[in-house]
Amino acid sequence: MKRFNLLLVALVVCVSLASPALAADTIKLGVAGPHSGDLAPYGIPAMKAAQLVVKKINANGGVLGKQVELLIQDDQCKPEIATNTATKLVTQGADVVLGHICSGATKAALGIYKDAKIPVMSPSATNPGLTQSGDYPNFYRTIASDDMQAKLAVNFAIDKLGAKKVAVLHDKGDYGKGFAEFAKKFLDESSKVKVVLFEGITPGAMDYSSIVQKIRRAKADVLIFGGYHPEASKLVAQMKRKRMKTAFLSDDGVKDVSFIKVAGAAAEGAYMTGPRDLSSIPLNAAATAEFKAAYGEDPGAFFKEGYSAALALLNAIQKAGSTDYAAVTKALQTQYVDTPVGKIKFDGKGDAEGVGFSVYQVKGGKFVELK
């Protein structure tokens, strides 16, 4: 009999764990992304952005007269966990979701939000298919997609750098390989340049000396790299050590202060694409100042995109007058909103109009926008 009692206790515990918090009358903003583990630096700034926005809006009376409640869920950037977190957010009654961060996790989770009719806005998922495939009508983002970046990078390489031979490398990852494949496609379309090398490097490998030698042998004058800053800083450092003059051109994943910190002098002169410089937008400066005041350090990756997404989502609910899916969708697509990434609204596919990329160069240890 004792055993059955035990079972009963277990049951009760489970039930109490499971029963959702008593639903108060609030607007629920879900936030999902990697908040633990090695990818946390990409997810936490957006989460903090959402907290700042919500705090401010609640202090000003909330949305539609209701307080905004944050539901924060960690997906570790893993697709299988993302589906669980998505389900959790749906069962907790999220009205809109800010997230996810990684494209893979976003793709996995979107189906669930789609069925539940919840608009989702990512500050960072740049995979072109997310908007262009038409599979995810409920998806929006405050960042431009990879193919735009690749197009810009390729045009820059051809027109400004006068590239004749280009080597294209990637880190075999979702983001990097996607970018590199687009770059290769656009390069192949142009008759002025030749792709002399297209290869994946192994992230985390001890060194890249063979591949660097290979670039040198191919006599490439520009190297386009798709990937993140750790590999990029290894590559530029080794290229410098081999006394190579090949120009280094990369993507937004590299446009991170860590790249300059880690690669140091070797980073000088490197080019990368990144979201347009927004420091002239007053809201951007204000948001950054807000973050600094709250946490005492510079905001990290995807902070302003996250801030913008939170503003855009809540603004759409305000404008729509309800959390109804159709109304919010309409508001997102028709109403302009002022955000740190500019005055934006969203097109029918979910990409933000008015968000774009520029090319940057590292000069004197800083990213300088090239006009």
Binding site: T87, T91, K107, D115, D174
Partner: protein, 407 residues
């Protein structure tokens, strides 16, 4: 007094050990050093207390071992849990209660709980599958996740290209995985123990690299999205309904796995596997074909991973190579070892604990992995046979019973 001195020494040693990493934090770009002196105090206190616990636990373990050595009977005496398990009538009652609980689950709890439970059940099947290879046949496999990937990709690709449905692919995925197991098994038949471990680890990594690079075949690192969920006569289901549906399929799959592995364990084939694990040379000398036995263990272990891989792809509706890392293999292996090698119930418990606990410990999400690692070590030291150790089937005979009762 001696204990205190010893613990003091231990905590001093750990303060020394953790000093650079716990106390100092440099910011080279801003030329700043952050000294976190408070951490010394915490480390010192924690290790001081822990060293007492540690010593006490070790002493208890040793005492138990001594007792076991001096009197053989002591060792044979099954633990209280095991005694409970052997009680047939109770076992049936418990099984029925558990089954009712499992079947009622999606109606009692919300959809989120069901999704979590599906994840856990997926790992139960993975654990039981690996249990055949590692627990029964003793072939250490550090790349088991490769077979999981084969199953997941067979469904994703066949569904994407040919629109084949879940129920068609479920067995196909298993069989493909099985074939893969045999193909990989052949070259490594001759290898023993730790050599096998590194080669299987290599295979796991190779599969991932191939999936990442061979874009024309696998769609590369961006993965495959919009995989169909399992269908039920073309009914359209919302999330809650389809989650419940998948949950029941998973329960079915788990029950099937349990029945099959339990039957195999006490069959001619299962005994051959165990014999192979216990002593390879004696095993072949008793007329057992080693190649065949090893391959069958490999293939069968792979089969379940393939099946559940199909399930995984259908549940997440999106897969990419990033889901099939060494960490997954390590977690599945831990499930088997922590649960108790060879013991079906143990593996089930192991999977539930390792997968569900972190879900409910989200508050500590930052510390999840460090706790996980520490738990593995502590568990191995104080209970190396796992939560539930394997018990062999007992046979009854006319005549024997009376005899043993008289003794």
């Amino acid at each position: 007094m001696k204990n205190i001195k010893q613990s003091l020494a231990v905590s001093l040693w750990f303060i020394f050990l953790t000093f650079p990493l716990m106390v100092v934090k440099v910011n080279t770009s801003d030329q700043l050093v952050q000294w976190r002196w408070m951490n010394i105090l915490w480390i010192g206190l924690a290790t001081f207390v822990l060293s007492f616990v540690w010593r006490y636990a070790l002493a208890r373990k040793e005492a138990r071992q001594m007792a076991a050595q001096s009197g053989q009977d002591e060792q044979d005496k099954p633990s209280r849990i095991q005694a409970l398990l052997e009680d047939q009538s109770l076992r049936y009652k418990a099984m029925i209660a558990l089954l009712i609980f499992a079947l009622a689950f999606p109606w009692v709890f919300d959809t989120y709980q069901s999704t979590i439970m599906i994840s856990a059940l997926i790992y139960v099947v993975l654990g039981l599958g690996l249990n055949i290879t590692v627990g029964l046949a003793g072939l250490l496999d550090l790349g088991y996740v490769a077979f999981f990937a084969v199953g997941a990709y067979s469904y994703a690709l066949l569904n994407h290209h040919f629109g084949l449905g879940f129920w068609t692919i479920l067995p196909v995925g298993g069989i493909l995985s099985c074939l893969f197991g045999v193909i990989l098994g052949f070259p490594i038949l001759r290898l023993r123990g730790d050599y096998l471990a590194i080669v299987t680890l290599g295979f796991g990594m190779i599969i991932k690299v191939v999936l990442e690079n061979w874009s024309d075949f696998s769609f590369g690192p961006s993965g495959i999205a919009n995989i169909d969920k399992p269908g039920l006569f073309g009914l359209k289901m919302d999330i809650a309904a389809s989650t419940t549906y998948i949950y029941y399929i998973m329960i079915g799959l788990v029950v099937l796995t349990i029945i099959v592995t339990a039957r195999l364990k006490n069959s001619r084939i299962g005994r051959a596997w165990i014999a192979l694990r216990e002593d390879e040379i004696a095993c072949v000398a008793m007329g057992i074909d080693m190649a065949r036995t090893k391959l069958s263990a490999y293939a069968l272990g792979a089969f379940w991973a393939g099946m559940v891989g199909v399930m995984f792809a259908a549940k997440t509706t999106f897969i990419n190579p990033a889901s099939f890392t060494f960490m997954e293999s390590a977690i599945i292996l831990s499930i088997v070892v922590l649960g108790g090698m060879g013991s079906i119930l143990g593996v089930i418990l192991g999977a539930m604990i390792l997968i569900l606990l972190p879900e409910y410990l989200r508050a500590f999400s930052e510390y999840r992995m460090i706790i996980f690692g520490a738990a593995m070590v502590v568990m191995m030291i104080f209970r190396p046979q796992g939560i539930i150790s394997n018990v062999r089937q007992k046979y009854e005979f006319k005549g024997l019973k009376e005899k043993s009762e008289n003794v």
